[in-house]
Symmetry: C3
């Protein structure tokens, strides 16, 4: 009932990027995402504004390994230089995998 | 100090299900759960209301593999057809495992 | 692009501990953390106040295995007896690992 071999990709970034990020996820073909408000401290990006105590979001996407790679590559190319952003990926088993 | 072989079961579903879901978790014997408010987009369930931009919750349960299977089976049987719901499971190591 | 062998350490605990906990993380050398507000039910700590329906936080730290062990040990020694606290660790791959 639980099927392995899926990925959970998590992006923690600035709240201001929410619309742009979800448009990117839609465009790349992600089947869905879950967003929660967050706060925190992290490495500063190149922008001086930094990240400390700023308003963040934590966005999760369940997908296969290929899509995870595709999303991660896109984010690295388009956002990583200019925004505070952390992306991490873990292995998950999911129920009803035909939804993804 | 960190003991492997536990499961982190995560349920993302409609906020309206919170009370019913936590009652189910209590009844099935889960030792606890963590809930955060979320938003997002996902596959529509059978119900027309769908899921888009609705208010969601993200519920986490730490348990052993047997309990994870039990909870997942119950949710699949009782909620999956009629509600927007995603369930995924990952492997975690926990501290002070005697609490679970 | 995704580099394996990192740890995601998650702490779920009482909101009242937020400042103390983030000071500990800074002091121990964590490169950052992400905090979300949470609620839930869990095993009661030694304190009578317990945990039920209290206001919680969920704090995530990405780090290497050594740092995860260091943080977990510190939390176990200094907080576990007196506070409602759950700590769990999972394996993650991260992008741009030079930030951590």
């Amino acid at each position: 009932m639980i099927e392995r071999n899926f990925k959970l990709l998590t992006v923690v970034t600035e709240s201001a990027l929410e619309n742009e990020l979800t448009e990117v996820l839609d465009r790349l073909g992600a089947s869905g995402y879950t967003i929660v408000n967050a706060r925190g401290r992290g490495s500063r990006g190149v922008r001086d504004a930094g990240w400390s105590t700023s308003s963040n979001i934590r966005v999760e996407v369940i997908c296969d390994a290929l899509m995870a790679e595709k999303i991660a590559d896109y984010l690295q190319e388009h956002f990583y230089r200019d925004y505070a952003m952390v992306v991490f990926v873990s292995d998950v088993g999911i129920m009803r995998p035909e939804k993804f």
